[in-house]
């Protein structure tokens, strides 16, 4: 029998980014025993990298904003595949959650009358993003961390969960290991909240940190929960493209919110050339109007650079393919040009976008106050994830909850910038609250020793194969190359079928992965454990994308380039079949109630 330490909890939260910490704070406030497991050190989770802001209809900058506008914007951005209940709750509750952060010590940038300042962002009708320069995620995670450590939660840093334990149809806890020592740990729990973030590391070019290996998606899938909308992977339009080693690092949408413009090699603002019908009435048709919008003119319409991310990313892709790209295969993003309008613009840019200034100066030797940046699409966000109840965030497996990026529904086919930070705190709180309720209402589940033993055996197998086994890094790199090339921003049937063949071959190689040496902080071993999760989510993305024979939101199919109204009525669901096979099926979208439908119509 494998040796392990045991830490029982009422509520176990897996993941310590914004959603996990918010869930843990909420659950701990009920007096229950709450444990938090995180792969990194506390406060290092991917939330730290969020830049632009947190979307909430506070109406501090434009008093025409309210939850109804935010709801309609979110649904439009998601091409109406969203879980309407989540979109409604999110729009209604985000302002209270943002104000709560301030009560816990967060310091947002201020308006002249001393309230929380809000900025423009793609797809949001009014300035809506509360922010701190371009480091909003850091402010948020630090606030939650510093508040959370006094709330009674226990944190297990640098631990990886290998599997969720199931007992007669409900979750019973989790089993994993601590990365520093390599010891196994059992966390029995009455309720489990997954808040593990996204899947960006399945792709080669990504803005995501190493942790984003789809752990929560894969853990839930293997435990029998359903996944939803897995075909919708957001490619952020602006990642760094040069130097190669920093390719993919995010360049915040805030650059465009502050007046930055996109140009091709012919110096043309190509975004004016292609404005989708859904957004025509809201988009400026000349440069002067676009500039006025970014400077707060309430009568101006937004510049086309602030259209939704899926669209901007495709336009950039098109310019590059047509040979009008920048020297290193991107396009130009220019904020320096605002010197035509703003005196002392260099100082202004450094104050509004300090991290961007720093990032380009240090990594690319470019001064963004003087010259344009080169940018191109980068894998950024997973709209798809665990299918949850909109109110409680409980998955289809009783006792298993999910919040944040790992949960699906709020964003539909495409997420608006700023809606993920608000997602974390709105649904993190809800998941924590309902998980606590579940833990109070249910007796402890029993832990099946056989499940633990099989997880432990599987985890130790790479050491038996040793250095003669397959190199886990090489398998991971090949998967990333293949997903980038075959299931990326432009998709076709043939390429995705090839991707499935590659994934199949990589599953076989992953089963033979080997690592030398011992269990103590062994990155090679950690990588070999990540492979199973990366392969599971890659397969789910590919199969869901194959099934959806249309282009909508983040999914662009070259072989089906148009939106198909028939497909607008379905979400794709991925689940594990009885003999371990992956099943993908389309389910009708839950009908929107009339009052919410009326809001959408009114805002069109």
């Amino acid at each position: 029998m494998a040796e392990y330490q045991t830490y029982p909890y009422d509520v176990l939260v897996i993941g310590a980014g914004g959603a996990g910490l918010r869930a843990a704070i909420e659950a701990a406030s009920t007096g229950l025993r709450v444990g938090v497991v995180c792969k990194s050190l506390l406060g290092k989770a991917h939330t730290v990298m969020a830049e632009g802001g947190v979307a909430a209809a506070l109406a501090n900058v434009d008093d025409r904003d309210n939850w109804r506008v935010h709801f309609a914007d979110t649904m439009r951005g998601g091409q109406y595949l969203n879980n309407w209940r989540m979109a409604e709750l999110h729009a209604k509750e985000a302002p209270a959650r943002v104000n709560e952060l301030e009560a816990w010590g967060a310091l947002f940038d201020r308006t002249k009358d001393g309230r929380i300042l809000q900025r423009n962002f793609g797809g949001h009708r009014y300035p809506r993003l509360a922010h701190v320069g371009d480091r909003t995620g850091l402010e948020m995670i630090r606030t939650l961390q510093d508040h959370g450590i006094h709330s009674g939660m226990e944190v297990h840093m640098e631990c990886t969960v290998l599997s969720l334990l199931v007992d007669s149809g409900r979750v019973a806890g989790a089993f994993g290991y601590d990365r520093e020592k390599g010891h196994f740990i059992l966390w029995p729990a009455k309720a489990v909240v997954l808040a593990t973030g996204g899947i960006g590391r399945a792709f080669k070019i990504t803005s995501n940190s190493w942790e984003y290996t789809g752990d929560g998606h894969a853990l839930a899938y293997r435990a029998g929960a359903e996944l939803l909308d897995m075909e919708f992977v957001q490619f952020h339009p602006t990642g760094m493209v040069w130097p190669i080693s920093v390719r993919g690092i995010l360049v915040t949408e805030g650059v465009r919110g502050e007046g930055g413009v996109l140009r091709n090699s012919e110096n043309r603002r190509f975004m004016f050339d292609d404005i989708p019908d859904l957004y025509k009435t809201q988009t400026a048709d000349n440069e002067a109007e676009g500039w006025r919008y970014t400077q707060g003119d309430k009568n101006a319409r937004r510049p086309p650079e602030l259209l939704t991310r899926d669209h901007v990313a495709r336009c950039i892709n098109r310019e590059v393919k047509a040979g009008r790209g920048s020297p290193h295969g991107g396009v130009f993003l220019d904020i320096a040009w605002i010197k035509e309008h703003i005196p002392n613009s260099a100082e202004h840019i450094k104050r509004k976008l300090p991290s961007m200034y720093h990032q380009f100066k240090q990594l690319a030797e470019i001064d963004i106050t003087k010259e344009p940046m080169e940018v191109g699409p980068t894998t950024h966000y997973m709209m798809g994830g665990i299918r949850v109840n909109g109110d409680s965030q409980m998955s289809t497996l009783p006792g298993l909850f999910a919040a944040g990026e790992v949960a699906a529904g709020l964003h539909g086919a495409n997420r608006l910038g700023g809606n993920s930070l608000s997602d974390l705190i709105v649904f993190g709180k809800r998941a924590g609250e309902y998980a606590a309720d579940f833990a109070k209402a249910n007796a402890p589940a029993s832990v099946d020793k056989a499940q633990i033993q099989s997880a432990a055996d599987e985890a130790l197998a790479p050491f038996e194969r040793g250095a003669q086994g397959e190199n886990p890094y090489a398998i991971q790199h090949q998967l990333q190359e293949s997903m980038q090339e075959l299931v990326g921003i432009v998709r076709t049937e043939g390429e995705m079928q090839r991707a499935l063949d590659v994934i199949d071959a990589l599953w076989k190689r992953a089963a033979k992965a080997g690592v030398p040496s011992h269990r103590q902080y062994n990155n090679g071993w950690h990588t070999s454990m990540d492979l199973k999760n990366l392969l599971t989510v890659s397969e789910a993305i590919t199969r869901a994308a194959l099934l959806r024979k249309e282009s909508r939101g983040a999914q662009f199919r070259e072989d089906y380039p148009d939106k198909d109204p028939a497909w607008g009525k379905y979400n794709n669901v991925v689940r594990r079949g009885g003999s371990g096979e992956m099943i993908v099926e389309s389910r009708p979208v839950t009908p929107i109630p009339d009052d919410l439908k009326a809001i959408i119509e009114e805002m069109k």
């Binding site: 001393g114 850091l138 630090r142 840093m157 520093e180 940190s209 190493w210 902080y521 090679g524």
Partner: protein, 254 residues
């Protein structure tokens, strides 16, 4: 990455001298690896890991200078591996990469920084004044928020702790919280809404008196926080005002 790098014409190779070992001891090992333009030290470490030393232990996360995980000592200087370009180093010499010295070794480049997380818990938490408005919100001016925002840029890389001689050389971990947590305490003390008093603790259990303002911490901060002048000195002044003001002393006696 391995395949593509060896098939392309490369500008060259560089030699990396990396410390390998654990709490029981260790030593330097040399690795030669191919380098590309624009590469940072963390890229080279990753390439060595993927091609030559799969069990080489390195802690990293965002690789964008935002999370503060990949702190190390590069050619003797405390730095983030992800923000140190090879172009700024002399590649005619081996690039020496070591773990931080002020914390116990776990393995290779990874150190046990858990002490920092325990220290943070000992500092009194944020305690806001009553809300200014009936809706539970406050009003603050940007100018009042600015100076605290500087402190809140901290990414908790602990390089300032690593370089502080009170911790690094004198091992006063039980009596002294280190520059990171003076910045943290300053952010709370100068927060426009905060009402808690941390001055007595700063003097006694947080040991601010040990700092003799050599500014080493400020010089290594990757976020360019003016640690010594903007955080530590004002806190020292508060301690002096509270405990060493002659008039106040007299007042206390009377």
């Amino acid at each position: 990455m391995a395949g593509t790098s060896s098939s392309k014409a490369l500008p060259g190779q560089a030699l990396f001298r990396i410390w390998r070992g654990d709490a029981t001891g260790g030593g330097f090992q040399d690795y030669k690896t191919a380098i590309d333009p624009g590469m940072v030290v963390l890229d080279a470490v990753h390439r060595i890991q993927a091609e030559q030393a799969p069990d080489l232990a390195v802690r990293w996360n965002c690789k964008a200078g935002k999370c503060g995980s990949c702190s190390a000592e590069i050619n003797g200087m405390p730095k983030l591996m992800c923000m140190t370009r090879l172009g700024e180093l002399n590649l005619d010499m081996p690039v020496i990469v070591e773990p931080m010295h002020a914390f116990p070794s776990i393995r290779d480049l990874v150190t046990d920084v858990s002490w920092n997380f325990r220290v943070k818990k000992t500092i009194r938490k944020f305690q806001p004044r009553q809300p200014d408005e009936n809706d539970g919100t406050w009003r603050m001016q940007q100018v009042d928020v600015d100076r605290v925002q500087e402190f809140r840029k901290c990414i908790e890389c602990f390089l300032c702790q690593d370089v502080c001689h009170v911790l690094r050389d004198h091992h006063k971990h039980d009596e002294f919280i280190g520059p990171r947590f003076f910045v943290y305490a300053a952010a709370l003390e100068m927060h426009p809404l905060d009402t808690a008093d941390r001055v007595p603790a700063l003097r006694k259990k947080h040991g601010i008196g040990y700092c003799n303002i050599t500014t080493c911490c400020r010089q290594v901060c990757p976020e360019s926080i003016t640690i010594t002048e903007n955080a530590i000195i004002p806190l020292k002044e508060r301690v002096v005002d509270e405990y060493f003001d002659p008039l106040k002393k007299l007042f206390h006696i009377l």
